[in-house]
């Protein structure tokens, strides 16, 4: 499998999830790239901004990530390399993933308070922009090879579900069982466009055994969390749809809510075709 990037901010949550990423890389036979984005500190003394030595800072950050990489490599017996870069987290991670030709990103999701939930974390911002699959792991999750994946979808798409090819590769690689969940508001009539999208999804998933779940409910998040328990899902998969400005104002991000509430690793699939397995 293509290399996996683990983006870390060295928080306690990130340190715990790093072990998940290492186990995942080992199980997938992939290289692990640790990446840290740092911001330039602004030092003020007696009312004046004191210039910081950028070279020294860069060296210190490089040394820190290199040391951590060596520790993880030794502990898990996998190939690990590390890099650190200054800048804005989402942009830098995107750039690093592109340069390193990684196939997947793993990020930690710490428990969010009400304010964080309103503004979102780096992980939830990144998942909307990423061009590769992102696995967002709650910080207390112990690693377990994915055996059951629950794909949640709203069927709001006109494309041919090419983004699911990555999911198919993961399902085949790990020999997973796949469940597909789509909720339907009982007060609304079944819609022909969504039905067509459902049939195209069926076509795309041909040869991948899967079980549909089509409960009537207007509470998607409750339906997801309930089914996660019922089928004992290890991962939840979702395709976040990019919303226009006005739509974005009206609709809350369901994918983000799933990430926050599912309490399982959530695999976010980008809306583009790619391959994960070399």
């Amino acid at each position: 499998m293509k290399p996996i990037v683990f983006a870390t901010d060295y928080s306690d949550a990130a340190q715990r999830v790093m072990h998940y990423a290492a186990e995942l890389a080992k199980a997938a036979g992939a290289k692990l790239f640790l990446f840290h984005v740092w911001s330039m500190p602004v030092m003020v003394a007696e009312g004046a901004v004191v210039p910081v030595n950028m070279d020294e800072l860069e060296q210190a950050e490089d040394k820190k990530i290199t040391t951590l990489s060596a520790t993880v490599a030794a502990e898990y017996g996998i190939t690990v390399s590390g890099a650190a870069s200054p800048g804005f987290a989402v942009d830098e991670i995107m750039d690093y993933v592109r340069r390193s030709e990684a196939g997947m990103v793993v990020m930690a999701m710490k428990k969010l308070g009400p304010v964080d939930r309103l503004f979102g974390s780096v992980a939830t911002s990144f998942m909307r922009e990423s061009k590769v699959p992102v696995v967002i792991v709650p910080d207390s999750t112990a690693f377990k090879k994915p055996q059951i994946i629950l794909l949640t979808t709203d069927l709001h798409t006109k494309n041919d579900w090419h983004e699911l090819d990555v999911l198919k590769e993961i399902v085949n690689y790990f020999h997973c069982g796949l469940h597909v969940l789509n909720t339907h508001n009982p007060n609304q009539e079944a819609n022909a466009e969504e039905a067509k999208a459902g049939l195209r999804l069926e076509q795309r998933l041909q040869q991948i055994p899967h079980i549909w779940h089509l409960p009537e409910s207007d509470d998607i998040i409750s339906a997801v969390t309930k089914l996660v328990d019922e089928v004992d899902a290890d991962w939840v998969a979702a395709v976040p749809h990019k919303l226009g400005f006005w739509q974005g104002l009206v609709h809350r991000s369901v994918s983000k809510d799933i990430v926050v509430k599912a309490d399982k690793p959530v695999l976010i699939l980008p809306e583009r075709h790619m391959h994960l397995v070399d």
Partner: protein
């Protein structure tokens, strides 16, 4: 329109959208109600005669049937019928190729459900309760008999009337 009262030739002349509406608005709720009532009454009967192994095996078959049947009905209702309705001129359905394999899958699921119904019929000795059986058991078996008839009607209407009306475009 009452599907139970329609003869084959009458059914073949019926408007596709009317038949789909009939299946959705009348047949689907009726089937689900029969399953729910039968299961509820079997639970009551099981409490009255907890050692009745026949009852236990009937209840297990009903659980399996319900699980497979509800998913099947939901997939037809949510994925197949809206596409058929949108693509129908009343007499024919001109649908894309994506529907073809799905229809084949639905027919395979019918076969599996028919097999489960046959199991149910064997386990209940053709839905005949013993004279000493509890009223709940008698009611449950009667409901299962109705369920079998309704499901056979649903399968017949779909396989002999609806699905052959689909022409597959590229």
């Amino acid at each position: 329109m009452n599907l139970h009262k329609k003869s084959g030739p009458e059914l073949r002349k019926a408007n596709i959208r009317d038949v789909l509406n009939e299946l959705e608005l009348y047949m689907r709720p009726r089937i689900k109600e029969a399953v729910e009532v039968a299961q509820e009454q079997l639970h009551v009967a099981e409490k009255i005669t907890p050692d009745d192994t026949t009852l236990q095996s009937v209840l297990q078959i009903v659980r399996d049937l319900k699980s497979a049947l509800y998913t099947h009905l939901a997939r037809e209702y949510r994925l197949l019928y809206p596409v058929m309705r949108a693509a129908s001129n009343g007499t024919w359905v001109a649908a894309g190729s994506e529907i073809k394999s799905f229809v084949q899958e639905m027919i395979s699921e019918h076969a599996a459900l028919k097999e489960t119904l046959a199991q149910l019929r064997r386990a209940t000795a053709d839905y005949n309760s013993l004279p000493k059986a509890s009223p709940s058991q008698k009611l449950a078996f009667a409901q299962l008999n109705v369920l079998e008839q309704d499901l056979n009607m649903l399968f017949y209407v779909e396989e002999e009337y609806l699905f052959p009306k689909i022409t597959y475009t590229k």
